[in-house]
Symmetry: C2
Subunit: 261 residues, 2 copies
Amino acid sequence: MAIKIESLQNKIFKRVKGLNLRKNRDKEGVFVAEGLRFISEIPLDWPVEMFLMTEAFAEENGTKLFENRAVTYILSEELFSLLSDTENPQGVLAVCKKQQENKEKTWIKEDSFFLLAEELNDPGNLGTVIRTADASGVDGIFLSKGSVDVYNPKVLRATMGSIFHVPVYQNIVLEETAREMKKRGVLLYAAHLKGESFPYHLPLQKSCAFLIGNEARGLSDEAANLCDGWVKIPMPGQAESLNASIAAGILMYEVVRQRLN
Amino acid sequence: MAIKIESLQNKIFKRVKGLNLRKNRDKEGVFVAEGLRFISEIPLDWPVEMFLMTEAFAEENGTKLFENRAVTYILSEELFSLLSDTENPQGVLAVCKKQQENKEKTWIKEDSFFLLAEELNDPGNLGTVIRTADASGVDGIFLSKGSVDVYNPKVLRATMGSIFHVPVYQNIVLEETAREMKKRGVLLYAAHLKGESFPYHLPLQKSCAFLIGNEARGLSDEAANLCDGWVKIPMPGQAESLNASIAAGILMYEVVRQRLN
Protein backbone atom coordinates (compact mmCIF):
# COMPACT_ATOMS: atom_id res chain seq x y z
CA MET A 1 0.00 0.00 0.00
CA ALA A 2 1.20 3.48 -0.85
CA ILE A 3 1.85 5.65 2.19
CA LYS A 4 0.35 9.12 2.59
CA ILE A 5 2.45 12.16 3.39
CA GLU A 6 0.26 14.89 4.79
CA SER A 7 2.51 17.44 6.40
CA LEU A 8 5.47 19.67 5.75
CA GLN A 9 6.93 18.20 8.94
CA ASN A 10 6.92 14.63 7.60
CA LYS A 11 10.46 13.22 7.78
CA ILE A 12 10.44 11.72 4.30
CA PHE A 13 9.15 14.99 2.85
CA LYS A 14 11.85 16.99 4.61
CA ARG A 15 14.54 14.58 3.49
CA VAL A 16 13.50 14.68 -0.20
CA LYS A 17 13.19 18.47 -0.04
CA GLY A 18 16.75 18.58 1.28
CA LEU A 19 18.00 16.76 -1.82
CA ASN A 20 17.80 19.97 -3.83
CA LEU A 21 21.09 20.80 -2.10
CA ARG A 22 24.22 19.17 -3.47
CA LYS A 23 25.71 18.59 -0.01
CA ASN A 24 22.73 16.43 0.95
CA ARG A 25 22.86 14.48 -2.31
CA ASP A 26 26.57 13.94 -1.74
CA LYS A 27 26.08 12.83 1.88
CA GLU A 28 23.26 10.42 1.12
CA GLY A 29 24.48 9.16 -2.26
CA VAL A 30 21.08 9.63 -3.89
CA PHE A 31 19.43 11.95 -6.39
CA VAL A 32 15.94 12.84 -7.60
CA ALA A 33 14.66 11.80 -11.03
CA GLU A 34 11.51 13.74 -11.89
CA GLY A 35 8.81 13.18 -14.50
CA LEU A 36 7.36 10.05 -16.06
CA ARG A 37 9.54 10.15 -19.16
CA PHE A 38 12.73 10.43 -17.13
CA ILE A 39 11.63 7.73 -14.67
CA SER A 40 10.83 5.40 -17.55
CA GLU A 41 14.53 5.59 -18.50
CA ILE A 42 15.65 4.09 -15.16
CA PRO A 43 17.12 0.67 -15.99
CA LEU A 44 15.53 -2.33 -14.29
CA ASP A 45 18.64 -3.09 -12.26
CA TRP A 46 19.13 0.48 -11.05
CA PRO A 47 18.49 0.87 -7.31
CA VAL A 48 15.49 3.09 -6.59
CA GLU A 49 14.87 4.03 -2.98
CA MET A 50 11.35 5.41 -3.20
CA PHE A 51 8.74 6.99 -5.43
CA LEU A 52 6.71 10.10 -4.54
CA MET A 53 3.61 11.06 -6.48
CA THR A 54 0.58 13.30 -6.31
CA GLU A 55 -2.88 11.94 -5.60
CA ALA A 56 -3.91 12.81 -9.15
CA PHE A 57 -0.95 10.94 -10.65
CA ALA A 58 -1.66 7.90 -8.47
CA GLU A 59 -5.30 7.92 -9.52
CA GLU A 60 -4.47 8.16 -13.21
CA ASN A 61 -1.55 5.74 -13.35
CA GLY A 62 -2.11 3.48 -10.37
CA THR A 63 0.61 2.81 -7.81
CA LYS A 64 1.14 -0.91 -8.29
CA LEU A 65 3.96 -0.83 -10.84
CA PHE A 66 5.81 1.61 -8.61
CA GLU A 67 5.15 -0.22 -5.35
CA ASN A 68 6.50 -3.44 -6.83
CA ARG A 69 9.82 -1.71 -7.18
CA ALA A 70 10.14 0.60 -4.16
CA VAL A 71 8.19 2.12 -1.33
CA THR A 72 5.71 4.64 -2.74
CA TYR A 73 4.44 7.83 -1.09
CA ILE A 74 1.42 9.88 -2.09
CA LEU A 75 1.07 13.56 -1.37
CA SER A 76 -1.09 16.54 -2.30
CA GLU A 77 -0.32 18.71 -5.35
CA GLU A 78 0.67 21.50 -2.97
CA LEU A 79 3.25 19.44 -1.12
CA PHE A 80 4.55 17.88 -4.34
CA SER A 81 5.06 21.26 -5.98
CA LEU A 82 7.41 22.17 -3.13
CA LEU A 83 9.62 19.22 -4.08
CA SER A 84 9.44 19.72 -7.82
CA ASP A 85 12.07 21.52 -9.85
CA THR A 86 9.71 22.29 -12.74
CA GLU A 87 7.00 24.88 -13.21
CA ASN A 88 4.43 22.36 -14.36
CA PRO A 89 5.18 19.21 -12.37
CA GLN A 90 4.00 15.92 -13.84
CA GLY A 91 3.40 14.67 -10.33
CA VAL A 92 5.95 11.87 -9.98
CA LEU A 93 9.56 11.59 -8.87
CA ALA A 94 11.95 8.84 -7.84
CA VAL A 95 14.77 8.95 -5.32
CA CYS A 96 17.54 6.92 -6.98
CA LYS A 97 20.92 5.77 -5.78
CA LYS A 98 23.82 7.45 -7.53
CA GLN A 99 25.98 5.50 -9.96
CA GLN A 100 28.38 3.09 -8.34
CA GLU A 101 31.95 4.04 -9.18
CA ASN A 102 33.83 1.32 -10.96
CA LYS A 103 36.69 2.99 -12.76
CA GLU A 104 38.50 -0.25 -13.44
CA LYS A 105 35.57 -1.53 -15.48
CA THR A 106 35.44 1.77 -17.35
CA TRP A 107 39.18 1.77 -18.07
CA ILE A 108 39.52 -1.69 -19.50
CA LYS A 109 37.30 -1.16 -22.55
CA GLU A 110 39.06 -1.83 -25.83
CA ASP A 111 39.35 1.08 -28.28
CA SER A 112 38.02 3.19 -25.51
CA PHE A 113 36.62 6.68 -25.90
CA PHE A 114 36.48 9.10 -22.99
CA LEU A 115 35.46 12.65 -22.31
CA LEU A 116 37.09 14.89 -19.71
CA ALA A 117 35.86 18.32 -18.69
CA GLU A 118 37.47 21.07 -16.67
CA GLU A 119 35.01 23.13 -14.64
CA LEU A 120 32.02 22.82 -16.93
CA ASN A 121 29.57 25.14 -15.18
CA ASP A 122 26.36 25.44 -17.13
CA PRO A 123 23.81 22.76 -16.17
CA GLY A 124 22.19 22.70 -19.61
CA ASN A 125 25.58 22.35 -21.30
CA LEU A 126 26.68 19.50 -19.04
CA GLY A 127 23.40 17.64 -19.50
CA THR A 128 23.58 18.05 -23.26
CA VAL A 129 27.21 16.91 -23.29
CA ILE A 130 26.26 13.74 -21.39
CA ARG A 131 23.38 13.06 -23.79
CA THR A 132 25.66 13.52 -26.81
CA ALA A 133 28.36 11.37 -25.19
CA ASP A 134 25.81 8.63 -24.66
CA ALA A 135 24.67 8.84 -28.30
CA SER A 136 28.22 8.72 -29.59
CA GLY A 137 29.28 5.73 -27.50
CA VAL A 138 31.57 7.41 -24.95
CA ASP A 139 32.79 4.88 -22.36
CA GLY A 140 33.16 7.29 -19.46
CA ILE A 141 33.00 10.97 -18.54
CA PHE A 142 35.43 12.55 -16.07
CA LEU A 143 34.55 15.90 -14.50
CA SER A 144 37.08 17.98 -12.62
CA LYS A 145 36.40 19.62 -9.28
CA GLY A 146 34.50 22.86 -9.82
CA SER A 147 32.12 21.42 -12.42
CA VAL A 148 28.39 21.66 -11.79
CA ASP A 149 26.96 18.60 -10.01
CA VAL A 150 25.77 16.00 -12.49
CA TYR A 151 22.82 15.25 -10.16
CA ASN A 152 21.60 18.86 -10.30
CA PRO A 153 17.98 18.65 -11.57
CA LYS A 154 18.69 20.89 -14.59
CA VAL A 155 21.63 18.72 -15.62
CA LEU A 156 19.58 15.54 -15.21
CA ARG A 157 16.72 16.95 -17.28
CA ALA A 158 19.06 17.88 -20.15
CA THR A 159 20.60 14.37 -20.13
CA MET A 160 17.18 12.96 -21.13
CA GLY A 161 18.02 9.80 -19.20
CA SER A 162 21.57 9.38 -20.48
CA ILE A 163 22.82 9.62 -16.89
CA PHE A 164 21.67 6.00 -16.57
CA HIS A 165 23.80 4.89 -19.53
CA VAL A 166 27.24 6.48 -19.26
CA PRO A 167 29.53 6.30 -16.21
CA VAL A 168 30.27 9.81 -14.94
CA TYR A 169 33.08 10.41 -12.45
CA GLN A 170 33.01 13.67 -10.54
CA ASN A 171 35.61 15.64 -8.60
CA ILE A 172 38.42 13.93 -10.45
CA VAL A 173 41.95 15.32 -10.54
CA LEU A 174 42.77 15.91 -14.21
CA GLU A 175 46.49 15.17 -13.74
CA GLU A 176 45.70 11.74 -12.28
CA THR A 177 43.17 10.86 -14.95
CA ALA A 178 45.55 11.97 -17.70
CA ARG A 179 48.34 9.88 -16.13
CA GLU A 180 46.08 6.82 -16.03
CA MET A 181 45.25 7.39 -19.69
CA LYS A 182 48.85 7.68 -20.69
CA LYS A 183 49.56 4.39 -18.90
CA ARG A 184 46.80 2.73 -20.88
CA GLY A 185 47.68 4.21 -24.26
CA VAL A 186 44.70 6.53 -24.52
CA LEU A 187 45.60 9.65 -26.51
CA LEU A 188 44.18 12.87 -25.05
CA TYR A 189 43.20 15.81 -27.26
CA ALA A 190 41.66 19.21 -26.72
CA ALA A 191 40.31 21.99 -28.87
CA HIS A 192 42.62 24.92 -28.24
CA LEU A 193 43.19 28.37 -29.72
CA LYS A 194 46.77 27.33 -30.39
CA GLY A 195 45.73 24.10 -32.08
CA GLU A 196 47.15 23.93 -35.59
CA SER A 197 45.39 21.03 -37.22
CA PHE A 198 41.74 20.10 -37.61
CA PRO A 199 40.37 17.01 -35.84
CA TYR A 200 39.68 15.18 -39.11
CA HIS A 201 43.04 13.45 -39.41
CA LEU A 202 43.57 12.40 -35.79
CA PRO A 203 43.88 8.64 -35.25
CA LEU A 204 40.55 8.43 -33.41
CA GLN A 205 39.82 4.81 -34.22
CA LYS A 206 42.30 3.95 -31.48
CA SER A 207 41.71 4.65 -27.79
CA CYS A 208 41.24 8.37 -27.40
CA ALA A 209 39.78 11.09 -25.22
CA PHE A 210 38.81 14.73 -25.52
CA LEU A 211 39.24 17.32 -22.81
CA ILE A 212 36.85 20.27 -22.88
CA GLY A 213 37.17 23.51 -20.96
CA ASN A 214 35.02 25.94 -19.07
CA GLU A 215 32.37 27.84 -21.09
CA ALA A 216 33.85 31.27 -20.49
CA ARG A 217 37.51 30.70 -19.68
CA GLY A 218 38.33 27.71 -21.86
CA LEU A 219 41.03 25.32 -20.66
CA SER A 220 43.61 26.30 -18.06
CA ASP A 221 47.23 26.08 -19.20
CA GLU A 222 47.81 23.26 -16.71
CA ALA A 223 44.98 21.23 -18.23
CA ALA A 224 45.93 22.02 -21.82
CA ASN A 225 49.48 20.83 -21.13
CA LEU A 226 48.22 17.39 -20.14
CA CYS A 227 47.11 16.74 -23.71
CA ASP A 228 48.90 14.75 -26.43
CA GLY A 229 47.67 17.19 -29.04
CA TRP A 230 45.68 20.35 -29.61
CA VAL A 231 43.23 20.73 -32.43
CA LYS A 232 41.25 23.60 -33.82
CA ILE A 233 37.68 23.38 -34.98
CA PRO A 234 37.44 25.16 -38.34
CA MET A 235 35.29 28.30 -38.36
CA PRO A 236 34.96 29.53 -41.95
CA GLY A 237 32.27 32.05 -40.92
CA GLN A 238 32.50 35.08 -38.67
CA ALA A 239 31.76 33.63 -35.22
CA GLU A 240 34.88 33.44 -33.10
CA SER A 241 33.85 30.54 -30.91
CA LEU A 242 31.28 27.81 -30.46
CA ASN A 243 29.02 26.94 -27.57
CA ALA A 244 30.88 24.42 -25.34
CA SER A 245 28.39 21.61 -25.86
CA ILE A 246 28.41 22.15 -29.63
CA ALA A 247 32.22 22.05 -29.75
CA ALA A 248 32.18 18.86 -27.66
CA GLY A 249 29.52 17.38 -29.96
CA ILE A 250 31.57 18.10 -33.09
CA LEU A 251 34.64 16.43 -31.58
CA MET A 252 32.74 13.40 -30.29
CA TYR A 253 31.04 12.93 -33.64
CA GLU A 254 34.36 12.97 -35.42
CA VAL A 255 35.18 9.85 -33.39
CA VAL A 256 31.84 8.35 -34.43
CA ARG A 257 32.51 9.15 -38.09
CA GLN A 258 35.97 7.65 -38.10
CA ARG A 259 34.82 4.48 -36.33
CA LEU A 260 31.95 3.78 -38.72
CA ASN A 261 34.24 2.07 -41.18
CA MET B 1 24.93 65.46 -24.26
CA ALA B 2 23.31 62.36 -22.86
CA ILE B 3 19.70 62.80 -21.87
CA LYS B 4 18.37 61.83 -18.44
CA ILE B 5 15.34 59.60 -17.99
CA GLU B 6 13.93 60.05 -14.51
CA SER B 7 10.49 58.56 -14.49
CA LEU B 8 8.54 55.40 -15.26
CA GLN B 9 6.24 57.65 -17.27
CA ASN B 10 8.99 58.80 -19.64
CA LYS B 11 7.94 58.01 -23.22
CA ILE B 12 11.30 56.56 -24.25
CA PHE B 13 11.36 54.37 -21.15
CA LYS B 14 7.86 53.09 -21.84
CA ARG B 15 8.67 52.39 -25.47
CA VAL B 16 11.85 50.41 -24.68
CA LYS B 17 10.03 48.51 -21.95
CA GLY B 18 7.39 47.59 -24.52
CA LEU B 19 10.04 45.96 -26.71
CA ASN B 20 10.05 42.90 -24.48
CA LEU B 21 6.90 41.97 -26.37
CA ARG B 22 7.30 40.45 -29.82
CA LYS B 23 4.34 42.35 -31.26
CA ASN B 24 6.00 45.68 -30.44
CA ARG B 25 9.34 44.56 -31.87
CA ASP B 26 7.52 43.43 -35.02
CA LYS B 27 5.57 46.68 -35.31
CA GLU B 28 8.58 48.95 -34.81
CA GLY B 29 11.18 46.84 -36.62
CA VAL B 30 13.69 47.17 -33.78
CA PHE B 31 15.17 44.98 -31.05
CA VAL B 32 17.19 45.37 -27.85
CA ALA B 33 20.86 44.32 -27.65
CA GLU B 34 21.95 44.17 -24.02
CA GLY B 35 25.39 44.07 -22.40
CA LEU B 36 28.73 45.53 -23.40
CA ARG B 37 30.03 42.38 -25.03
CA PHE B 38 26.97 42.00 -27.19
CA ILE B 39 26.92 45.69 -28.10
CA SER B 40 30.57 45.52 -29.10
CA GLU B 41 29.54 42.98 -31.76
CA ILE B 42 27.28 45.49 -33.55
CA PRO B 43 28.91 46.18 -36.93
CA LEU B 44 29.81 49.79 -37.69
CA ASP B 45 27.28 50.05 -40.49
CA TRP B 46 24.39 48.59 -38.50
CA PRO B 47 21.68 51.14 -37.68
CA VAL B 48 21.41 51.82 -33.94
CA GLU B 49 18.51 53.99 -32.80
CA MET B 50 19.60 54.76 -29.24
CA PHE B 51 21.64 53.65 -26.27
CA LEU B 52 20.38 53.45 -22.70
CA MET B 53 22.76 53.14 -19.76
CA THR B 54 22.89 53.44 -16.00
CA GLU B 55 24.57 56.37 -14.29
CA ALA B 56 27.27 54.01 -13.02
CA PHE B 57 27.98 52.66 -16.49
CA ALA B 58 28.16 56.17 -17.93
CA GLU B 59 30.56 57.25 -15.20
CA GLU B 60 32.83 54.25 -15.73
CA ASN B 61 32.81 54.13 -19.53
CA GLY B 62 31.94 57.65 -20.55
CA THR B 63 29.14 58.41 -22.98
CA LYS B 64 31.07 59.96 -25.84
CA LEU B 65 31.66 56.85 -27.96
CA PHE B 66 27.99 56.03 -27.69
CA GLU B 67 26.74 59.56 -28.36
CA ASN B 68 28.83 59.75 -31.52
CA ARG B 69 26.73 56.92 -32.86
CA ALA B 70 23.20 57.44 -31.53
CA VAL B 71 21.20 59.40 -29.01
CA THR B 72 22.13 58.23 -25.52
CA TYR B 73 19.92 58.14 -22.42
CA ILE B 74 21.02 57.78 -18.82
CA LEU B 75 18.83 56.32 -16.11
CA SER B 76 19.06 55.05 -12.55
CA GLU B 77 19.93 51.42 -11.75
CA GLU B 78 16.34 50.94 -10.60
CA LEU B 79 14.80 52.07 -13.86
CA PHE B 80 17.40 50.20 -15.93
CA SER B 81 16.76 46.94 -14.09
CA LEU B 82 13.11 47.17 -15.21
CA LEU B 83 14.27 47.14 -18.84
CA SER B 84 16.91 44.47 -18.44
CA ASP B 85 16.38 40.83 -19.25
CA THR B 86 19.22 39.61 -17.01
CA GLU B 87 19.52 39.15 -13.28
CA ASN B 88 22.75 41.09 -13.03
CA PRO B 89 22.48 43.82 -15.65
CA GLN B 90 25.71 45.29 -16.97
CA GLY B 91 23.94 48.64 -17.28
CA VAL B 92 23.94 49.20 -21.04
CA LEU B 93 21.62 48.35 -23.92
CA ALA B 94 21.13 49.42 -27.51
CA VAL B 95 17.92 49.67 -29.51
CA CYS B 96 18.91 48.37 -32.97
CA LYS B 97 17.06 48.18 -36.23
CA LYS B 98 16.25 44.66 -37.33
CA GLN B 99 18.07 43.10 -40.26
CA GLN B 100 16.94 44.37 -43.64
CA GLU B 101 15.52 41.54 -45.71
CA ASN B 102 17.36 40.99 -48.94
CA LYS B 103 16.64 37.45 -50.01
CA GLU B 104 17.91 37.94 -53.53
CA LYS B 105 21.38 38.77 -52.20
CA THR B 106 21.23 35.71 -49.96
CA TRP B 107 20.11 33.40 -52.75
CA ILE B 108 22.72 34.27 -55.32
CA LYS B 109 25.75 33.03 -53.37
CA GLU B 110 27.75 30.41 -55.16
CA ASP B 111 28.03 26.98 -53.52
CA SER B 112 25.50 28.26 -51.06
CA PHE B 113 24.71 26.68 -47.73
CA PHE B 114 21.40 27.31 -45.97
CA LEU B 115 19.63 26.22 -42.85
CA LEU B 116 15.85 25.87 -42.56
CA ALA B 117 13.97 25.19 -39.36
CA GLU B 118 10.38 24.17 -38.72
CA GLU B 119 8.94 25.54 -35.48
CA LEU B 120 12.14 25.65 -33.47
CA ASN B 121 10.80 26.69 -30.07
CA ASP B 122 13.54 26.80 -27.49
CA PRO B 123 15.27 30.22 -27.35
CA GLY B 124 18.61 28.76 -26.21
CA ASN B 125 18.53 26.19 -29.01
CA LEU B 126 17.73 28.76 -31.69
CA GLY B 127 20.45 31.12 -30.47
CA THR B 128 23.00 28.32 -30.38
CA VAL B 129 21.97 27.17 -33.86
CA ILE B 130 22.49 30.71 -35.21
CA ARG B 131 25.91 30.91 -33.54
CA THR B 132 26.94 27.54 -34.99
CA ALA B 133 25.57 28.51 -38.41
CA ASP B 134 27.66 31.67 -38.30
CA ALA B 135 30.79 29.70 -37.37
CA SER B 136 30.23 27.19 -40.13
CA GLY B 137 29.65 29.75 -42.85
CA VAL B 138 25.90 29.37 -43.44
CA ASP B 139 24.65 31.93 -45.98
CA GLY B 140 21.13 32.28 -44.63
CA ILE B 141 18.71 30.87 -42.05
CA PHE B 142 15.00 30.42 -42.81
CA LEU B 143 12.58 29.98 -39.90
CA SER B 144 9.02 28.81 -40.40
CA LYS B 145 6.04 30.41 -38.74
CA GLY B 146 5.69 29.12 -35.20
CA SER B 147 9.40 29.39 -34.40
CA VAL B 148 10.48 31.48 -31.43
CA ASP B 149 11.29 35.11 -32.35
CA VAL B 150 14.94 35.53 -33.22
CA TYR B 151 14.86 38.94 -31.47
CA ASN B 152 13.75 37.40 -28.18
CA PRO B 153 16.43 38.43 -25.62
CA LYS B 154 17.28 34.82 -24.71
CA VAL B 155 17.82 33.93 -28.37
CA LEU B 156 19.96 37.02 -28.92
CA ARG B 157 22.10 36.24 -25.87
CA ALA B 158 22.75 32.68 -27.06
CA THR B 159 23.77 33.93 -30.53
CA MET B 160 26.72 35.76 -28.92
CA GLY B 161 26.44 38.42 -31.61
CA SER B 162 26.04 36.08 -34.57
CA ILE B 163 22.66 37.70 -35.28
CA PHE B 164 24.71 40.53 -36.80
CA HIS B 165 26.53 38.17 -39.18
CA VAL B 166 24.01 35.77 -40.70
CA PRO B 167 20.79 36.75 -42.50
CA VAL B 168 17.79 35.25 -40.72
CA TYR B 169 14.38 35.17 -42.41
CA GLN B 170 11.38 34.61 -40.16
CA ASN B 171 7.80 33.50 -40.78
CA ILE B 172 8.77 31.87 -44.05
CA VAL B 173 6.60 29.30 -45.78
CA LEU B 174 8.69 26.13 -46.06
CA GLU B 175 7.05 25.06 -49.33
CA GLU B 176 7.97 28.35 -50.99
CA THR B 177 11.55 28.33 -49.72
CA ALA B 178 12.00 24.72 -50.81
CA ARG B 179 10.61 25.59 -54.25
CA GLU B 180 13.03 28.50 -54.58
CA MET B 181 15.88 26.17 -53.63
CA LYS B 182 14.87 23.56 -56.15
CA LYS B 183 14.81 26.26 -58.82
CA ARG B 184 18.35 27.27 -57.90
CA GLY B 185 19.75 23.76 -57.64
CA VAL B 186 20.15 23.74 -53.87
CA LEU B 187 19.73 20.20 -52.51
CA LEU B 188 17.70 20.03 -49.30
CA TYR B 189 18.36 17.37 -46.65
CA ALA B 190 16.97 16.55 -43.23
CA ALA B 191 17.84 14.20 -40.42
CA HIS B 192 14.91 11.82 -40.20
CA LEU B 193 14.08 8.59 -38.38
CA LYS B 194 13.48 6.98 -41.75
CA GLY B 195 16.80 8.22 -43.13
CA GLU B 196 18.89 5.31 -44.36
CA SER B 197 22.33 6.75 -44.98
CA PHE B 198 24.68 8.80 -42.87
CA PRO B 199 25.47 12.40 -43.86
CA TYR B 200 29.13 11.61 -44.59
CA HIS B 201 28.70 10.76 -48.25
CA LEU B 202 26.27 13.48 -49.28
CA PRO B 203 27.55 15.85 -52.02
CA LEU B 204 27.76 18.80 -49.63
CA GLN B 205 30.46 20.70 -51.49
CA LYS B 206 27.72 21.79 -53.87
CA SER B 207 24.87 24.12 -52.90
CA CYS B 208 22.96 22.48 -50.09
CA ALA B 209 20.65 23.09 -47.16
CA PHE B 210 19.53 21.28 -44.04
CA LEU B 211 16.04 21.38 -42.61
CA ILE B 212 15.71 20.82 -38.87
CA GLY B 213 12.54 20.10 -36.93
CA ASN B 214 10.89 21.02 -33.67
CA GLU B 215 12.67 19.89 -30.49
CA ALA B 216 9.88 17.61 -29.31
CA ARG B 217 7.92 16.67 -32.41
CA GLY B 218 10.66 16.53 -35.04
CA LEU B 219 9.71 17.38 -38.63
CA SER B 220 6.14 17.27 -39.88
CA ASP B 221 5.49 14.87 -42.77
CA GLU B 222 4.75 17.83 -45.03
CA ALA B 223 8.13 19.38 -44.27
CA ALA B 224 10.03 16.09 -44.52
CA ASN B 225 8.51 15.49 -47.95
CA LEU B 226 10.00 18.72 -49.27
CA CYS B 227 13.50 17.26 -48.92
CA ASP B 228 15.70 15.75 -51.61
CA GLY B 229 17.03 13.23 -49.11
CA TRP B 230 16.80 12.02 -45.55
CA VAL B 231 19.83 11.12 -43.50
CA LYS B 232 20.35 9.55 -40.14
CA ILE B 233 22.91 10.65 -37.61
CA PRO B 234 24.67 7.54 -36.30
CA MET B 235 24.11 6.78 -32.62
CA PRO B 236 26.35 3.88 -31.61
CA GLY B 237 25.53 4.43 -27.93
CA GLN B 238 22.27 4.07 -26.05
CA ALA B 239 20.71 7.54 -26.41
CA GLU B 240 17.82 7.54 -28.84
CA SER B 241 18.06 11.13 -29.94
CA LEU B 242 20.20 14.23 -29.81
CA ASN B 243 19.46 17.76 -28.66
CA ALA B 244 18.18 19.75 -31.66
CA SER B 245 21.06 22.22 -31.66
CA ILE B 246 23.62 19.42 -31.38
CA ALA B 247 22.06 17.54 -34.31
CA ALA B 248 22.07 20.75 -36.36
CA GLY B 249 25.71 21.37 -35.38
CA ILE B 250 26.79 17.90 -36.49
CA LEU B 251 25.10 18.34 -39.88
CA MET B 252 26.46 21.86 -40.44
CA TYR B 253 29.96 20.74 -39.52
CA GLU B 254 29.81 17.91 -42.01
CA VAL B 255 29.44 20.63 -44.66
CA VAL B 256 32.43 22.43 -43.15
CA ARG B 257 34.49 19.23 -43.17
CA GLN B 258 33.69 18.40 -46.80
CA ARG B 259 34.42 21.94 -47.97
CA LEU B 260 37.84 22.16 -46.31
CA ASN B 261 39.48 20.42 -49.21
